[in-house]
């Protein structure tokens, strides 16, 4: 007599056989003592594994003692608060501010001699008159001349954040 395959019996135990296969296996088991015995053993093995892999009292206590909320919430901070992002962007902003201040300084020092530089200066003055005036005005303060672009960016960021927060509040409401 051909015995059942262990894989087939495993599927039988898991109730994963279709109706015809199930009937064939049940029929075989009813008159094959060896397979019926093996099935009992496999059932016991399955029970042992289910019991062994279950969570015991000690593990349950350990699980209950943990709270993942804090570390997870810290881990899902928005991209603009990621340390890597800040590490790149903050020095970039500082550098850009410095360069902007240097441009402002150059503009204020360059004589209007009508040459190529003078032409560029005039063009810039015409293009960004407001910016030019602000730079000249703030330039009286020395340190402010370097910092004002940073302050401007910070104000823009603050404005954007407040808009985002109010949008989130509206969504939550």
């Amino acid at each position: 007599m051909r015995h059942l395959q262990p894989e087939q019996m495993q599927r039988f135990l898991a109730d994963e056989l279709d109706l015809m296969e199930r009937e064939a296996v049940t029929d075989h088991l009813s008159h094959c003592e060896a397979c019926a015995e093996l099935l009992v053993q496999m059932t016991a093995d399955d029970d042992t594994l289910t019991l062994a892999l279950g969570i015991d009292a000690e593990e349950a206590a350990w699980i209950a003692s943990l709270d993942l909320t804090q570390p997870v919430m810290a881990g899902i901070r928005p991209w603009y608060r990621e340390p890597a992002f800040l590490a790149i962007v903050v020095p970039l902003i500082a550098f850009a501010s410095f360069m902007l201040a240097q441009v402002g300084r150059l503009l204020s020092l360059t004589p209007d001699d009508g040459g190529p530089i003078g032409f560029t200066v005039d063009a810039l003055r015409a293009l960004i008159p407001a910016l030019w005036r602000v730079n000249i005005y703030l330039g009286q303060g020395g340190l402010l001349r370097t910092l004002w672009p940073v302050l401007l960016l910070a104000a823009a960021y603050w404005f954007w954040r407040s808009r985002m927060t109010s949008k989130e509040d509206k969504t939550n409401a």
């Binding site: 262990p6 894989e7 599927r11 053993q41 093995d45 594994l49 289910t50 943990l66 993942l68 989130e168």
Partner: protein, 184 residues
């Protein structure tokens, strides 16, 4: 706030709503990661990382499907990635090796019941299983998933699940027999 509402809020930018989902599922996630990694310290780290991954990929979650299996799949994948990264895994033996070294109880070889003296020994043996075997053993005996669900989670055909499960049990018998010889 229920699960569905929390997911909706997260998708609309309310990060704080994710705390509700963490609170709801952290026990199950920790238990699953504990069984997969076999270490409490690793389980806590991996479960935390799995939640973070779930949040980042929440837009890919199909709201018409149940949330728990989706989360479990992420956790299982995180466990596998962690175990691969840290090399805390055994190579999958060729099918012939398993059959050569361990015979089935049908051939008179001792069963898992005969070899398993205590739960800890079985757990240690499960933690030594190759990843593909461990994944199906944990999914079937611990998570109590169906073959279909295991197949979906492991990314294998349904028919392969039974084979993997059978080979995993053979390998478990071998590991348990080895530890018995070692201690005996």
């Amino acid at each position: 706030m229920d699960e569905r509402e929390a997911i909706d809020r997260c998708l609309h930018g309310d990060r704080d709503a994710f705390a509700v989902l963490v609170g709801q599922y952290q026990s199950q996630m920790l238990a699953l990661c504990l069984r997969m990694t076999g270490s409490r310290e690793d389980a806590a780290d991996v479960a935390q990382q799995a939640f973070i991954q779930a949040y980042r990929h929440l837009d890919r979650y199909d709201p018409h499907q149940p949330f728990r299996p989706w989360l479990y799949k992420i956790a299982t994948n995180e466990c596998i990635a962690f175990l691969r990264r840290t090399k805390k895994q055994q190579a999958v033996p060729a099918a012939d090796d398993v059959l050569e070294n361990v015979s089935d109880p049908a051939d008179g070889a001792p069963s898992i019941v005969d070899l398993a003296e205590d739960r800890e020994r079985v757990r240690t043996a499960v933690a030594q299983l190759p990843l593909s075997y461990r994944q199906v053993v944990v999914a079937y005996y611990f998570q109590e998933l169906s073959y279909q669900e295991i197949a979906r989670q492991a990314g294998v055909p349904v028919g392969t699940v039974g084979t993997l499960l059978h080979r995993a049990k053979q390998q478990l018998r071998k590991l348990l027999a080895e530890t018995e010889v070692g201690t005996g």
